[in-house]
């Protein structure tokens, strides 16, 4: 069975990617199961979607602990723990495809991965920085599994994006086709992922859940502000950056209108953005009267931070 997992953020089209790939497999005569997995759907929050394809009816359900192919729409997702982690369950035979401007070898070393790592060059002008890359990712995946024809891919895109305007559909067909071509030399590198271990091979490792008093076992948070431990800054694909030269120190404007209360002034009145929690909505960029806040791609900002 082919097991493919797409990771991205709400709005990037990972559900659509899974549906395109699912429909393409289906057109090739496979039995298919595709599903998005998200909790409380929030734009910008990480989501993943899975595709299973096999020649026999698919009995497996739910999470995909052993993917054969993982596609990551956005490299800034890599530090996140969403869905048990973008890289969870990736064995040596698995393939990781990153949509990134950084080359595959660098990523392989950074992440210390045993599996094969590939990249699909990031072209921000095509995606608007944080745009829809569903068809692109599906196109790459279709070639990597090796048994999906270009016709099946295009048919699936037409089917899944039927509600989109003709121009948008055409652009997505082009992007997907380019991704499909870009993966040519890796075509068929994705293996049908291994079956689950045989009966008796792995212990379920159950424990007896003991009684614990309600003080401990009721779903209560005894404290305040624990949410600041959640680094929603990782949702960001675009980063607002304040130019201190142009900033007029009217911090009450950007600071009040920032939905996440992530902008506060330092002693001199210069607003400072809390990048741990800034989600990259860019309201501050839009409201700054002096146009002193600009947005830059998060990946680029991180590269700059990494190499001062």
């Amino acid at each position: 069975m082919y097991r493919i997992r797409f990771h991205g953020r709400g709005g990037q089209g990972m559900k659509t990617a899974s549906r395109i790939l699912g429909s393409a497999f289906f057109a090739e005569g496979f039995e298919v199961q595709d599903a998005p997995s998200y909790g409380a759907e929030r734009r910008g929050a990480p989501i993943f979607a899975t595709v299973r394809a096999a020649h026999a009816p698919i009995l497996e359900r739910g999470p995909m602990p052993q993917p054969g192919l993982v596609i990551v729409a956005d490299e800034t997702l890599l530090p996140m723990a969403a869905g048990g982690g973008v890289l969870s369950g990736m064995g040596e035979r698995a393939v990781l495809l990153l949509h990134s401007a950084v080359d595959a070898n660098t990523w392989k070393q950074r992440l210390q991965l045993a599996c094969r790592v590939l990249t699909l060059p990031l072209r921000l002008e095509e995606t608007g920085g944080r745009g829809f890359v569903g068809a692109l990712c599906a196109g790459a995946a279709a070639r990597l599994v090796g048994i999906v024809s270009r016709e099946a891919l295009e048919g699936a895109i037409r089917q899944e994006l039927a509600a989109m305007p003709a121009q948008v559909l055409a652009a997505n067909l082009t992007q997907a086709g380019e991704a499909y071509d870009a993966m040519k030399k890796h075509a068929g590198c994705v293996c049908e992922a291994p079956e689950a271990p045989a009966p008796g091979a792995v212990d379920a490792n159950w424990i007896d859940l003991p009684f614990e008093a309600a003080e401990l076992s009721a779903p209560d948070i005894h404290g305040a502000l624990t949410s600041i431990q959640v680094r929603t800054g990782l949702w960001r694909t675009l980063r607002p950056v304040i130019d201190p030269e142009r900033c007029s120190r009217c911090h009450w404007l950007c600071g009040s209108l920032c939905p996440d209360a992530a902008i506060s002034p330092e002693a001199e009145g210069l607003p400072v953005i809390d990048y741990e929690h800034c989600k990259g909505c860019l309201v501050c960029v839009a409201v700054c009267p002096r146009h002193a806040i600009e947005s830059i791609p998060e990946a680029q900002a991180r590269e700059q931070e990494a190499s001062p």
Binding site: Q33, I58, N205
Partner: protein, 420 residues
């Protein structure tokens, strides 16, 4: 007939469309909402000649559904979880009206703590309402079951509303290949609604759902509902046979897999049962004579078929995706009462698994099989077991470490300002 990829929600909507429903009282709730959105889109596009009305609550939605059915139209509605419980008063009430319609429930675990993912405590809370219950394991079954449910609910010997249950996420948002029967085929299987005596019209006054005084008429009316529900066992056979003739697909009240010579069996409901099918096949490969029994019909309870299919089985692992506080698994209790007093009844082991969408891993099925074989050998069932690993407890401990920490120093400016 076309075969295409549909989500469970899409399949439910297709079922309603093919049933040519007249009326769809609605109220949104995750993970059901897509069903009413799809039906609304078809109605707006003129593809489905029905009327949809969004009520202000599920309680009102069920009232309107029952009232419309009692007036003589074919009604479809859908809800989930908290919505089903909010409507609970009306589930009992409208079932007593003896007006047939179909309610799709997309199973989602109940608060508190509130969550979005699936388990079966919601639909099993409706177990005693008088609604028939059909539980689905695949998206294909969702579509087929909606059609079966209308025939069953409208059957002259039954005439009760029916719930078709599908699991949130694992079916509701998951696409699988689904055969969509031709409308003409469905029309032959399920003709237009004949309300018989259930309707309002000026020339034939009727007072429906009136009060009774005293236990005698009450006992009579309520027990007759029970009798009608029992009739649905035979009626289901008839309806399923018709459905098979129409579509080629056979749906038994009790689904079994490799039970012929089974020594141990899993018994469970819903979509995770396909994982059990896989586990059974793997166990067979390794020499264990395992099987699976999955009640599709939960109300009426197919007791005779269960006794028959479990005859000769030595151990049964009951996997409950639900929990009755202070008792344990609901399915386990139902099955125990079904097998009580049956000579050479199998030993029952009880597992609580899949609460709130928690996965059940292949190795857990294998271990349940192993525990059950041992219980069958010793004749002693172990204590009921929650499927919960040491790693999961460590994860809970990590969360508790945050939730239960003393209010700690923080650099957040808001906290500083609020300090005295």
């Amino acid at each position: 007939m076309t075969r295409r990829l549909l989500t469970g929600n899409g399949a439910a909507a297709w079922g309603a469309r093919l049933a040519d429903v007249d009326y769809v009282p609605a109220f949104p709730i995750t993970p059901q909402t897509e069903i009413i959105e799809q039906l609304g889109a078809w109605i707006d596009a003129g593809e489905l000649p029905a009327r949809m009305v969004t009520l202000e609550s599920e309680h009102s939605m069920l009232t309107a559904a029952g009232a419309a059915a009692a007036t003589g139209v074919r009604v479809f509605t859908a809800t989930s979880s908290q919505g089903l419980l909010y409507a609970m008063e009306m589930l009992y009430t409208v079932a007593g009206w003896r007006a047939p319609f179909v309610l799709v429930n997309v199973s989602r675990a109940l608060a508190a703590p509130v969550t979005l993912e699936t388990d079966h405590n919601d639909v099993l809370a409706a177990r005693d309402t008088g609604f028939l219950q059909l539980h689905c394991a695949t998206c294909q079954e969702v579509l087929d079951s909606v059609l079966l449910a209308y025939r069953l609910a409208e059957h002259p010997r039954v005439r009760l509303p029916a719930i078709v249950n599908l699991d949130g996420f694992t079916l509701s948002f998951t696409r699988e290949p689904v055969e969509i029967p031709e409308p003409a085929v469905v029309r032959r299987f399920l003709p237009g609604f004949d309300p018989q005596s259930v309707r309002f019209r000026a020339s034939e006054p009727v007072s429906q759902a009136v009060a009774v005084l005293g236990g005698t008429p009450y006992s009579y009316f309520r027990y007759e509902m029970h009798r009608a529900t029992e009739q649905a066992i035979a009626a289901f056979e008839e309806v399923a046979a018709d459905f098979e003739r129409a579509t080629g697909r056979r749906h038994a009240a009790l689904e079994t897999h490799r039970m012929n010579d089974a020594e141990i069996a899993f018994v469970m409901l819903g979509s995770f049962a396909t994982k059990a099918v896989d586990a059974v096949d793997r166990l067979r490969e390794s020499g264990v004579r395992a099987g699976l029994v999955r009640p599709r019909l939960v109300r009426p309870w197919p007791a005779a078929a269960l006794r028959e299919s479990l005859a000769g089985v030595r151990g049964v692992a009951v996997v409950d995706q639900n929990l009755s506080m202070g008792k344990g698994g609901i399915l386990h209790a139902e099955l125990a009462s079904t097998l009580y007093g049956v000579p050479d009844a199998p030993v029952l082991t009880s597992f609580i698994g899949g609460l709130g969408g928690r996965n059940i891993a292949p190795e857990e099925f294998f271990q349940m099989a192993s525990v059950t074989r041992e219980a069958a050998q010793t004749g002693q069932a172990p204590e009921p077991r929650l499927l919960f690993t040491a790693q999961e407890l460590r994860e809970v401990r990590r969360l508790q470490g945050i939730a239960l920490a003393e209010r700690h120093e923080t650099t957040h400016s808001g906290a500083e300002r609020s300090a005295p």
